[in-house]
Amino acid sequence: MQAETIDERTLRKYLLGDLSPQECEKIEGWLMSDDEAYDLLVAAEDDLIDDSLRSKLNRVERHQFKARFLVAPERLEKLDFGRSFKRYIDGLRPGPAKKQSYFWGTLTGYFNRTPALGYAFYTLLTLMTVGGTWSTFKLVDLQRELRFTNAQIANLSTQRAADLQEQSAQFVDLSKERDVYRFQLNDSRSSSKKLEAQIRTLERTISSLKTSSEPVSIPVDLTRSIPPPESPTQMLATYNLFPGISRSAGTVAMARTSSSIPTIGIFANSRLVQFFLRLFIDAYDTYRAALVGSAGDEVWSSGRLVTTMVESNKVLVVLVPAKAFSSGNYSFRLTGSSSSQPLENITSYYFRVVSQ
């Protein structure tokens, strides 16, 4: 193999017969001994034919091409083929993706020459791809979390609004309930008035009875013992009681002596005993009267009592079953309340019972 290679331009001149005999000798020596020479010479012939068909030869070259190059019949055949080939190639339109492939082709070629850089580039590309994918997934995850949090906030807002609405509804319900209670109170007051009327009727009955020979009740006197009713058929006994305690130096003490405690007599056939508990100050809406025995135990009680006017005095009317009593000392412990306030102790009414 000959070390020196012949460039395309020299080959072209050789084919056109434009070289000196010495240069021709050199090229032919190369042709006879070099492995690639023959093919390169044929390639140079092809290029020359293509240039001729594309009118790229100057005047002198054209003359040399016709007079020298085309003498051999095989070259005329090559020219015919070249003409068809050119027509075929010209019929093809280059695609728009060619520039892109040129870029990648250049890049690939560069990396082929410098493999280390190529590996680095592809590693970087892989890392970028993996990183990009990871970032995308992370972003999607964060977006999902954000959507979830927003949904939670929306739920909380909705729930709060619902709670507010519910509270408003409860408030409305309470207002209605209050109205109902107010109505009940009015109703109770009207009932009290009716009861008062009944009491008056009863008082009138009592008065009429007093005028007759058999009194049914003896009014309570503060200073002396009240004699029990004499009639054994008496069904209702009525007594007036006055507050019997006073406050002194922070302690509760009996205001009267044992002898000054009013005594009431209850017949065995009596069913009810009616007490009029006198009030000097009516400061509460409702009252509760508890019957307390001598041992301090609560024997009986009645709540939701309201004051009634009896002969220009405010009293609480308490009806107690007669069988709650036996002979002994008793007292009514009076407590009162206003609105929704807790009960407050007001006073006590002491008396002694004598069963007959």
């Binding site: 006879m32 010479l41 051999a72 068809s84 093809l92």
Partner: protein, 236 residues
């Protein structure tokens, strides 16, 4: 004896016996009455001719296969050399060159130093000079202009042959020949880089594909012509 389109490629000029363990090749005698026979005037006995041809092969290479390949290569190069010198009968001059070397080989094989190709080159120079002298005396007419009646047929055949190419070769050919001027040069450089080849290697590869296309197209045209003639013959 069978005709072998073998690695030796002697089918155009000789015959090889593939049945034997060691293949043997023989040369066919040149046509008489050609320009070359006038130059050489050689008419040796056939046995002697065969013997010297065998000697020539041994001189080219002790291995007969390699010798056959070298022989074909030398003949191909000689034809190209004569074509490049403007000879209108390059094959005949190439064959005459080989004949002359064959006749001399028994004298030179023992003493010649150097590549046999260079000896062939020297003989080819002499043959060419003889041909020039004879051509001046004969004043041969210029070759007729090519007849392009078959352009369409050739084009159709070419299209068919391009489609027959393997995809890689087809893409290579179409890419290689598409651009022009600087774009063409750049594109070819880029293609060579892409394939990890040198420019010369790429050129060689393309010129071989192009040669195969040309050969395919010519064969196709010849077949078409034959069919056409047969049809005409049947019609008349």
């Amino acid at each position: 004896m069978t005709t072998v389109p073998s690695k030796l490629g002697f089918q155009s000029r000789g015959q090889c016996n593939a049945d034997q363990s060691t293949p043997t090749c023989t040369r066919s005698k040149h046509r008489k009455g050609t320009a070359l026979s006038v130059i050489s005037g050689n008419d040796e006995p056939e046995d002697l001719d065969k013997q010297r041809f065998e000697q020539l092969l041994r001189w080219l290479d002790p291995d007969r296969e390699t010798a056959g390949a070298k022989y074909e290569l030398i003949r191909k190069r000689l034809i190209k050399l004569f074509v490049c010198r403007g000879v209108d009968v390059p094959e005949e001059l190439a064959d005459e060159t080989i004949n002359r070397v064959t006749r001399k080989v028994h004298e030179i094989c023992a003493t010649y130093v150097g590549k046999p190709e260079h000896y062939f080159h020297g003989v080819a120079n002499n043959i060419h000079l003889e041909w020039i002298r004879k051509k001046r005396a004969q004043v041969a007419p210029p070759p007729p202009p090519p007849v392009n009646e078959d352009d369409e047929r050739r084009f159709a055949c070419l299209e068919r042959c391009v489609n027959k190419l393997p995809k890689a070769d087809r893409d290579l050919v179409l890419g290689y020949y598409q651009d022009e001027k600087h774009a063409k040069i750049d594109h070819r450089k880029q293609m060579a880089e892409q394939m990890g080849l040198g420019m010369n290697a790429l050129r060689i590869r393309l010129c071989r594909i192009r040669a195969s296309l040309q050969s395919c197209a010519e064969q196709c045209c010849n077949e078409n012509l034959t069919k056409q003639n047969e049809t005409k013959h049947h019609l008349y």
